[in-house]
């Protein structure tokens, strides 16, 4: 069963917490991975791979660049999850 937006944000929050040490409650839709959540370009790859696995979705490298905020990522996953 496909995940809801709320479930996706909660999942992303756990992933970002694991990788960047940011408290899960700080991971909100409007937060920028780079500017707000201490996720640099290499760590972003880790976030994407973890998200792919968790939500059964493929996020090609060219699409990763468009995912600036947690909301961008949640929308992308919502639309592409199988």
């Amino acid at each position: 069963m496909a995940a809801t937006q709320e479930e996706i944000v909660a999942g992303l929050a756990e992933i970002v917490n694991e990788i960047a040490g940011i408290p899960t409650e700080d991971v909100q839709l409007d937060k920028s991975f780079t500017d707000d959540l201490d996720v640099d370009s290499l760590s972003m790859v880790e976030v994407v791979v973890a998200a792919e696995e968790r939500f059964d979705v493929k996020i090609p490298d060219e699409d990763v660049k468009t995912l600036k905020t947690v909301g961008d990522a949640a929308d992308y996953i919502l639309k592409h999850q199988s």
Binding site: I19, G21, D38, L42, V49, E52
Partner: protein
């Protein structure tokens, strides 16, 4: 004074070793003659011919925040722990360039070496590749496994911009890093350099490889007694892990900020055996050359030499070749040199050895105490005839006057590095 002939001093020390998570606990262990060697209880160790090692006393992940630790190879974690202790010990309260730091980034360098580099990351990620596929290989793999990673990460931590370097010479790497740092300051390129060595190679592949070279002790039944430099029955080294770091500084810079000075870093002597890729030259020819280069390039007075922290890995050939070299160069002056083999306690930290043993050498001078060589049941007669080995218990060094000490490090490939320190 010309910028190419500046006096270099040690103003900070840091270490994380099999004896303790900092300098104080490591030094206490060394003076007490405590062994850091333990059985390897990991599952992979069961099928190894060598099932003992000197494992780190305090896991670096207990000290470094998790998000930072997970993107550092274990060798870089050790280096960072030791460097941060040394940095604070030198009286620096902020990174270079920040308010109250006491040094400009452009005048600060970092030279941290390891013998093998990020080997646990390399092999761990190869396991990931095979077991979980290409996509799961960590994007941090390359910056973690590259041999300059400890140096680069320490450089980032203190904001070093005068140069960040990584000399690689197997088990001489840590000492060569300190020698390189001394030259950076002496030549005027930097005022302060964070320098030392680190190693994290207790992993099934390096353990199997060193064991198959017949370089390591197979005394699995007696871990604490296995590393026994100069003992008649010594049968190879015991692998250790950890890091040791010095803060080296020009004497003027240290004086200007009122820093405590542990010792003067007098200089270095370097040579190469060009004899065999792994076997030491049996007469210590290359070691003699390194010692003569040291005497020719510094004003070190052999009459002041009272202590050598020997390379002494507990291999049959290497331990004696080193003593032959010391005797050949110093002659009767070798009679007043207390020789300590601290690998009897720490194991052999490979590229980390020169760092940790330089910390020990500096403290031996500062505290005027030579740590013991433990585990000598029967002193090899060949050693007894060549040197005054400090065995069983620590020994006081002369309480008066200026005294000097050496730290010897030699590496596979025929690298010989001798560092000289003396009291101020």
């Amino acid at each position: 004074m010309s910028p190419t002939n500046r006096t270099v001093v040690v103003t900070g020390i840091g270490a994380t070793t099999p004896l303790g998570g900092d300098v104080a606990s490591t030094w206490e262990g060394l003076v007490a003659g405590r062994s850091g060697v333990t059985p390897l209880t990991q599952e992979w160790a069961a099928e190894q011919p060598v099932r003992i090692a000197a494992q780190i006393a305090v896991e670096p992940t207990e000290v470094i925040p998790r998000p930072q630790a997970r993107r550092l190879d274990r060798s870089a974690q050790f280096a960072l722990v030791a460097a941060e202790e040394a940095w604070a010990d030198a009286g620096f309260t902020a990174k270079a360039g920040e308010e109250g730091a006491g040094v400009e980034p452009e005048r600060l360098g970092a030279v941290i070496a390891s013998g093998i580099g990020g080997v646990t990351t390399l092999l761990g990620q190869y396991d990931v590749l095979k077991e979980k596929g290409v996509r799961r290989v960590s994007p941090h793999t390359v910056p973690m496994l590259m041999p300059n990673s400890p140096s680069a990460n320490v450089g980032l931590a203190v904001n070093a911009r005068a140069g960040v370097h990584t000399p690689v010479s197997a088990c001489a790497s840590g000492a060569e890093a300190i020698g390189y740092a001394i030259e950076m300051i002496r030549s005027g390129r930097a005022d302060v350099v964070v320098a030392g060595g680190t190693e994290a190679a207790i992993h099934p592949l390096p353990m199997a490889a060193f064991a198959n070279m017949m370089a390591m002790s197979k005394n699995n039944e007696d871990p604490e007694g296995a590393s026994r430099p100069y003992d008649t029955d010594r049968d190879g080294f015991v692998m250790g892990e950890g890091a040791g770091v010095l803060i080296l500084e020009s004497a003027e810079h240290a004086a200007a900020r009122g820093a405590r000075v542990y010792a003067e870093a007098v200089g270095q002597g370097i040579s190469a055996d060009s004899h065999d890729i792994v076997q030491p030259e049996p007469e210590g020819r290359g070691i003699q050359a390194a010692l003569r280069n040291l005497l020719a390039s510094t004003d070190l007075d052999p009459a002041e030499l009272v202590h050598v922290n020997a390379h002494a890995t507990s291999t049959p050939a290497g331990d004696i070749a080193e003593l032959k070299g010391l005797r050949a160069v110093f002659g009767d002056d070798a009679d007043h040199i207390a020789v300590s083999g601290t690998k009897s306690m720490t194991g052999h930290l490979l590229g980390g050895a020169g760092g940790v043993e330089s910390v020990a050498t500096v403290l031996a001078l500062y505290n005027r105490v030579a740590p013991p060589t433990i585990n000598i049941k029967e002193l090899d007669p060949a050693a007894a005839g060549l040197a005054d080995v400090v065995r069983d218990e620590a020994r006081k060094l002369p309480v008066d006057g200026r005294i000097a000490a050496l730290n010897d490090s030699f590496g596979f490939g025929g690298h010989n590095v001798v560092l000289a320190f003396r009291t101020v």
